[in-house]
Symmetry: C2
């Protein structure tokens, strides 16, 4: 049975679920940053997923990218599935701006997260939820 | 018309092409590292591709992952589409080992590439080409 890795849970707030993936907002106000976690037990690599789920994951990466574009007008979207530290399969989708806190390097391992203030977090969550068609509310 | 970004060309050797993507081997012997470049002009983001091409890209990411697993027995596959420096859409698929030169951080921006010696490069290219069904030779 799927359960979210506690380290992912600790670093994020849950937005809800799409067809395949739990959608998390990284609690780091430096970057508009979503994490997709396929709700399948025991997955580490994209290729651990059945082919049909791989295809759905791509559509959800695209949906997360469009949602970030609509709320943040980024200069670039970064997509990454690393998992070197947290092995549970998860995909980062990050809105990048020229000159942001890690630019032009990757966000992973770059400096220290700056948690959202409550009002900004609620605003960002509401805007992202509205921009993600088919999102079911977090339990 | 598609043409490979000269910075990607300079850092890699061409293995060939799959249905959608040019397949490049990063010339860095520290990490078995493939780069997929969809052979479509003017693409920067995955979501710039038509949906059908996005689906094919996922199957090619999976094929590259399996090829790296078969030649390198990695502890983790890292997949990333960043493009903060080279804007042409390209997807990194990297075989990672616990304790490798960047572990557990990302490979991007980590240290300096160590080019392959000629014999090792030829061996790696031949093994990867044999592990990538449907690969057409580089022109």
């Amino acid at each position: 049975m799927f359960s979210l890795d506690p380290r992912l849970a600790a670093d994020t707030v849950a937005l809800g679920s799409l067809s395949l993936s739990r959608v998390l907002l990284m609690n780091d106000s430096r970057f508009p940053w979503l994490i997709l976690v396929p709700e399948r037990a025991g997955m580490r690599e994209i290729i651990d997923l059945p082919e049909g789920d791989q295809a759905v994951l791509m559509t959800e990466i695209a949906a997360a990218s469009r949602a970030l574009q609509s709320i943040a007008a980024p200069d670039k979207i970064n997509v990454g599935a690393l998992g070197n530290i947290v092995g549970q399969l998860h995909v980062h989708v990050v809105a990048r701006r020229t000159g942001d806190a890690a630019w032009p390097g990757p966000v992973w391992g770059a400096g220290t997260a700056v948690p959202y203030e409550a009002a900004a977090r609620e605003h960002t969550m509401a805007a992202l939820a509205a921009a993600l068609p088919g999102l079911r509310p977090a339990e």
